[in-house]
């Protein structure tokens, strides 16, 4: 057999584990895992890459010499932001709004809190600002919302501010003026003044202005984007560079790529690196989009259950929802991010019983990878969901991470009894542990239902994908009773996000805020003018995108362009992202075609009853995505075999606790299950990186693509 050459290495460093997926030229893949090392991410990166290469039976050097794309998504920048270990920055803004940084947006003080804490206003707290008030200088000058100059920029005040900030030895000077997304001339002028002073003083200070980072309406979010770019990307880029260094030292010949939060790959030299700050979780949605083409259902719900969070997303009729103004690290940003709903629920979640009220609760804290759950025996003594699974026999104590971690089930039992069962005064510890698991399952299930009903979606048209290290462990529980069309999980569930990242293409996305109202009965001349405006903006964005793509080594003929618009029915508050069906709009008729596309997407997202019929529309933002295709992993298709699994897949029986009693449960090795096989619960299918629990009466079937279909008992 010819050994296939690995061509893509995708590495996803999550909060707990770093997953590597190696894809070869035929699209088959192997997976490696290692603990994430937040201090120096390249350590975990290399370990996990070595493990993936081991599974393939090649040396790490051969792997790196062979691959053409190394793509890395990590949490480095987010960590810099959360630990407030970024650069010392200064800000120049309009006189009169200097306190903008301190005031922030109200929801930043509770946006990521649990429901209980949102209600308890005493816990609300603004995130510490990234730039101090003393380093914020207001200068006279004002642009209005139409881009007309109301007060000219007082240049001597800019000079004074720059000199003061330089005296304070800031590392970056940020410039953010009101309405610079409409008219950036004051920012450009201030930047010129600052640059002259920098040259004269031979200072190495960086300059950044908001119209370059994100020329988009709403100054709070624009300012946040600017500040985070200035504050966090220095450290984040250092992490990425160290990854690249390690890859190169081991024989890799190209530049490392990373993923932007809207789903496109880019070089780690990407100018606005904060756009890659949140990229790991969205890999799952990209992977789902890819799976949807195989299973021929373009309506999917994705669910990712990891150690600390349960992330959910929706693809409706092929359309991925983009959140234009997400909350990241407690800051509202103007940053297109694939929309995901998250609740704090995961296998590492602490389970607790209030000694006073006997109320049982999950989290919000979780054990993380170090010291991990009690059963890891590394010092943690607060029980977690993982411990409950171990107590009930659902996890194999000798096969966790393929046997790398031996689970101390007795210790978990003892501590769980002491802090939970005894406090509740319940004698049967197992019932309490199962209750905890049911609680997590139902929280996740309720979150799914809530997301579905908020979108007006009926689950019977949707396929649920379940992944993440703990997804298959709880899948049977959290999907029960919702009524999905189909439920699918994967042998590589634990690395599905990393897999999804490798399905991405190289992309750049440029956009600009506009405000174009297109009234229903606009005179022809007015529409004609709108057409011209749209084309000139698209042309402008296209040339910027082309320039950046070429600078990263792509050739012009490889690059495809997709113009898009953010549109809404005039007067609404939310935009819909519309990929234009045509490259340029040359006539009023073609403009109408774009509007028709918007109406259809709007109907798809919000159901057909939401169609407004004849109403004016507005364009709020215009953009251009430039893409170059990249080789993708391919799932292997095999013939369906017999329904009984092979003898070698069978691992014996274990007593597992289900529905308040111990059941003799069959154990199977996941990698030995073949297409066509059917397994009836109670059963457990084990994999070094995950465990699939099949509840009594439920059934799992492996299809020709080696995907596992979970079927609930009728």
């Amino acid at each position: 057999m010819k050994t296939a050459r690995p061509v893509v290495a995708g590495i996803d460093a999550g909060g707990t584990m770093t997953d590597t997926i190696l894809v070869d030229e035929f699209g088959t893949f192997t997976i490696g895992k290692a603990a994430t090392t937040p201090q120096l991410e390249s350590i975990g990166f290399l370990e996990s890459a070595i493990e993936a290469s081991d599974y393939r039976g090649i040396a790490i050097e051969d792997m790196f010499a062979s691959v053409e794309v190394v793509l890395y998504t990590g949490t480095g920048m987010l960590n810099v932001l959360l630990s407030r270990s970024g650069r010392n920055i200064g800000l120049i803004t309009n006189k009169g709004i200097e306190d903008m940084v301190l005031m922030g947006r109200g929801l930043q003080s509770w946006g990521d809190y649990s429901y209980a804490d949102r209600l308890h206003a005493v816990t609300h707290h603004h995130p510490p600002p990234l730039v101090t008030r003393r380093n914020t200088h207001g200068v006279t000058g004002r642009m209005d919302h139409m881009g007309d100059e109301i007060i000219p920029l007082y240049e001597h005040e800019v000079e004074q501010a720059v000199n003061t900030l330089l005296d304070k030895e800031v590392e970056v000077i940020c410039i953010c003026f009101l309405f610079s997304q409409v008219n950036p001339s004051h920012e450009i002028l201030a930047e010129g003044i600052a640059r002259t002073i920098l040259t004269r003083r031979e200072a190495k200070t960086e300059l950044l202005s908001s119209h370059q980072v994100r020329p988009v309406i709403r100054e709070q979010s624009r300012l946040n984007s600017l500040l985070i770019e200035a504050y966090a990307t220095g450290g984040g880029r250092k992490q990425l560079k160290s990854i690249e260094k390690v890859a190169r030292e081991n024989g890799y010949r190209y530049g490392v790529q990373t993923l932007q939060s809207f789903g496109g790959l880019t070089s780690i030299n990407h100018p606005n690196l904060h756009e890659t700050m949140v990229s790991g979780p969205i890999g799952g949605v990209l992977g789902a989009r890819y799976i949807s083409q195989i299973i021929e259902n373009d309506s999917l719900v994705v669910s990712d259950l990891g150690g600390t969070s349960f992330d959910m997303g929706i693809i409706s009729k092929g359309q991925i929802r983009i959140d234009q103004e997400p909350l990241i690290g407690r800051f509202k940003l103007n940053l297109p991010l694939i929309a995901m709903d998250t609740i704090g629920a995961g296998a590492g979640m602490h389970v607790k019983v209030d000694p006073l009220t006997k109320k049982v609760s999950l989290g919000p804290e979780s054990a993380g990878s170090e010291p991990g759950p009690i059963c890891f025996d590394k010092g943690n003594l607060v029980p977690t969901i993982c411990d409950c699974n171990a107590i009930l026999g659902r996890l194999n104590p000798d096969y966790f991470l393929g046997g790398k971690v031996k689970l101390n089930v007795d210790l978990a039992y003892e501590k769980f009894k002491e802090t939970c069962a005894d406090v509740l005064e319940v004698d049967n510890v197992y019932d309490v542990a199962e209750g905890m698991i049911n609680m997590l399952d139902s929280e996740a299930g309720v979150a799914l239902r809530r997301m579905l009903s908020a979108q007006g979606i009926h689950p019977s048209e949707y396929t649920l994908l379940s992944y993440g290290g703990s997804g298959p462990l709880h899948l049977g529980g959290y999907s029960r009773g919702i009524g999905f069309k189909d439920i699918i999980t994967f042998q590589f569930a634990a690395a599905f996000s990393a897999f999804g990242c490798t399905t991405a293409d190289f992309q750049k996305r440029f956009s600009r805020s506009v405000h174009l109202d297109i009234p229903l009965e606009a005179p022809f001349m007015e529409l004609q003018e709108t057409v011209l405006t749209i084309n000139s903006i698209w042309g402008d964005l296209k040339s910027r995108a082309l320039e950046q793509m070429v600078s990263e080594g792509h050739t012009a003929d490889q690059i495809g362009f997709q113009p898009f618009l953010l549109m809404r029915y005039t007067g609404q508050l939310e935009d819909v992202e519309v990929y234009s069906p045509i490259d340029t709009i040359n006539s009023v008729n073609e403009l109408n075609r774009v509007i028709e596309t918007f109406r259809n997407i709007y109907k798809n997202i919000n159901r057909s009853v939401s169609d407004y019929g004849q109403t004016s529309v507005s364009v709020m933002e215009m953009g251009m995505i430039a893409s170059v295709e990249k080789i993708k992993p391919r799932l292997k298709k095999s013939k369906l075999g017999k329904s009984k699994p092979e003898e070698r897949a069978y691992k014996g029986l274990r007593e597992v606790y289900f529905n308040s009693k111990w059941e003799k449960t069959q154990l199977w090795e996941m990698d030995e299950i073949l297409p066509g096989n059917e397994i009836r619960g109670p059963a457990i299918i084990e994999h070094p990186a995950t465990t699939l629990v099949i509840h009594p009466g439920d059934e799992v079937f492996m299809n020709e693509w080696s995907m596992l279909h979970y079927r609930h008992q009728e």
């Binding site: 308890h120 005493v122 816990t123 707290h125 009220t357 919000p364």
Partner: protein
Amino acid sequence: MNNQQMEEYKLLVEGQLPWPQTKNLMSSYKDRDRFFKILKIYQDKVKWDEKILLPIGEHLFIVQKGNQRLVKCTCGHEFGDYRKNWKFQSVLLVRNKVEDLESIYPHSDVCDPSWMEIREFICPGCGTLLEIEACSPGYPITFDFCPDLEGFYSEWLNHPL
């Protein structure tokens, strides 16, 4: 008793606990004996020996002295029986003139003293500002808190008083 936890509570009482830990304490369950742990921290802090029964302000406690229960300041000054408003035993400073109000709100708008006055209750023993009232002139001095000590101990704390 867990020492690390006591250190944390001590910082909390002193207002020195960093926000993330403070938030964590707020959001998680109380340990059953939290009240007594906090009492112990206060008891260790004050220089006198009377047993603290209940803190009723940043500097004020209800203490057991012989068979009496008194309000006592951190400095040791005693305000008498806890069922009587301790404010009547304090030094009172009323700011009801513009210049007095401006002295605490310089370069700023102040209230109209014919509509509102500020009353400052100060400990005669140590001069610490113990409590403030902002109310219309003539409004009676409020009795902030007359706790049901017996009920609190027997029904909430399950502990003899």
